[in-house]
């Protein structure tokens, strides 16, 4: 029973990692860069939802949808302003940019007087509810995370596998020059990718907020999502979820059964082991250049 309960909470936590990892993978698949700002976008999304719900008093659903839309717009705007000018430069420049964007986002939020330095509660309707099933406890907040994560993963997977735009995004990331030659509007797609990523981040932020509260540093949980993405195989959407689950469950079990401190580095140990055994992760393809 104990074990089942632990696994349940592991899965719930794992879904959170997976959800954030989805954002990383999304960006990676479509632009071959790693966004260190994903966690901070998540934070912005949560603050956005908070502003709408608490300060403007909008109804829950309206606030959630508007926050997601606003973040998508923000993502596109940010792309337009800072990423597009250096589109085509080595991916690493863009990684640096995302670090910079993360700093700015965190800094600006902190600068809002009276709000930025505080911790807030996001008033979701399902706050603190639990379901009991036999002797097990299900946290509604976590159930919501699990469900939304599954849906989102499916949708993104379909986008990249079947839709023309999704394939074009991957094409542009693999060979930008060729994408231009094909008439793919690389810039516009890039904007869409960052918008989408910001929207996913906003969803993650809103889902996470009831569990972790809303504060300027909530994005740091993103650091745990990196291992999740790597374990699953960076570039694989289902991999992100599976990786997240593995890490969530390992953490949960390690916290209970293993000595102190193991839980905190369990994620990193898992990722190191994984890189030794299967360097490309569970679902990552092993790539070699053909010469």
């Amino acid at each position: 029973m104990q074990l089942v309960q632990l696994i349940i909470s592991g899965i719930a936590q794992g879904c959170i990692y997976g959800l954030i990892a989805l954002g990383f993978v999304l960006i990676y698949k479509a632009t071959e860069t790693v966004s260190f700002a994903q966690g901070d976008l998540m934070m912005l999304g949560a603050f956005c939802g908070l502003a709408l719900m608490t300060f403007l008093g909008w109804p829950f659903w309206l606030a959630v949808l508007s926050a997601i839309a606003a973040m998508a717009a923000f993502g596109m705007l940010a792309e337009r302003a800072v990423i597009r000018p250096i589109l085509g430069q080595p991916a690493f420049s863009i990684v640096m940019l995302t670090i910079g964007i993360g700093y700015i986002a965190r800094g600006l939020i902190t600068m809002i007087p009276g709000i930025g330095t505080e911790t807030h509660v996001l008033p979701v309707p399902y706050k603190d509810q639990i379901w009991r099933l036999g002797g097990l406890v299900f946290n509604v907040e976590q159930v919501v995370v699990i469900v939304v994560t599954a849906i989102l993963c499916g949708a993104l997977f379909a986008l990249f596998r079947y839709s023309r735009i999704g394939i074009a995004m991957q094409a542009a990331s693999q060979n930008q020059l060729a994408a231009y030659y094909m008439g793919i509007p690389v810039k516009r797609l890039n904007g869409m990718v960052w918008g989408l990523a910001a929207a996913v981040a906003a969803i993650a932020g809103l889902l996470l907020a009831p569990i972790t509260f809303v504060h300027a540093n909530m994005g740091f949980i993103g650091l745990k999502a990196f291992p999740a993405a790597v374990v699953g195989g960076f570039g694989s959407l289902p991999g992100a979820i599976v990786g997240g689950l593995i890490i969530g469950i390992v953490e949960s079990l390690a916290g209970f059964y293993l000595p102190e401190g193991v839980k905190d580095i369990a994620a990193y140990v898992v990722v190191l082991v994984m890189l030794m055994v299967r360097p490309n992760g569970l679902f990552g393809e092993s790539l070699r250049k053909k010469v």
């Binding site: 394939i167 094409a171 008439g183 509007p185």
Partner: protein, 260 residues
């Protein structure tokens, strides 16, 4: 070739540079609707640069480019393609991690008619049966020549008004090289697609093309109908490799130490 045909592509006095290095200097050329034009030139003369400038991959410093009467100077490449100008780049440039099929699909990105695209993909695969065989394989794993076929097929499915071909025969077997040119001619005749061809195999190029330009050091030094160019001594010597023995023997010893 109809003499008074409308000019579909006009470059006037185009100058492009890579940083401080000028690659082409004041190039003016015209391609008429429905013809095959070719640009000859030795290595580094700037042939690829002309094509890249036309399709907007690099922005010219000076001069203008008009396609079907519209100014496309320094336009976004995607925009240029949308207007019906496809470019088969030098060096294949396939999407290595997409399947062959998806590569072709991307070739037709600018088209919205799904059924017609599917038909054209079928047609392209008929030109190059190997592509059908490898439909689900990642393009990066194809052999060099197979990738070249894919690159050409990709331009065909775009069903453009005009194709810029940069060394289409690169790395193809003699048989396929010939086939490729047959295809080029066929497309030109059957669909009326205008073609601007850059090719090292000058013999082939001068045979299939109507009009030719000779480029040296970024400048156009000669232009005429191909039938005329084929007969010029210079062209014969430098581009068709028809030299007298003496000249060739001399070339062998031309190398001397240029100590810096």
């Amino acid at each position: 070739m109809s003499q008074g045909a409308e000019e579909i592509l006009v470059l006037s006095n185009v100058e492009s540079a890579y940083g401080p290095i000028k690659a082409i200097r004041g190039v003016s050329l015209k391609v008429r609707q429905g013809e095959i034009a070719t640009v000859l030139g030795s290595n580094g003369a700037g042939k690829s640069t002309i094509l890249k400038t036309i399709s907007g991959i690099i922005d010219p410093n000076r001069g203008s480019i008009h396609f079907r009467g519209e100014n496309i100077t320094a336009k976004d490449p995607a925009d240029v393609v949308r207007r019906g100008l496809s470019h088969v780049p030098e060096g294949r440039e396939v999407f290595p991690l997409l399947s062959v099929h998806d590569n072709l699909l991307m070739g037709a990105y600018t088209r919205s008619d799904r059924d017609a695209v599917a038909r054209d993909i079928e047609a392209a695969m008929t030109y190059f049966p190997i592509l059908r065989e490898r439909e689900r394989q990642d393009a990066g794993l194809l052999s060099g020549g197979q990738q070249q076929m894919l690159a050409i097929a990709r331009a065909l499915v775009a069903s453009p008004q005009m194709i810029l071909l940069d060394e289409p025969s690169l790395g193809l077997s003699p048989k396929l090289t010939k086939e490729i040119f047959e295809i080029v001619v066929r497309i030109n005749r059957e669909r009326g697609t205008t073609i601007l061809l850059v090719e090292q195999n000058a013999n082939m190029a001068l045979n299939v093309a109507d009009y030719g330009y000779v480029l040296e050091n970024g400048r156009i030094v000669m232009e005429d109908r191909c039938a005329v160019l084929r007969e010029k001594e210079d062209v014969k010597e430098f581009y068709l490799g028809m030299k007298e023995e003496g000249v060739r023997g001399e070339r062998r010893w031309k190398k001397k130490k240029t100590w810096r």
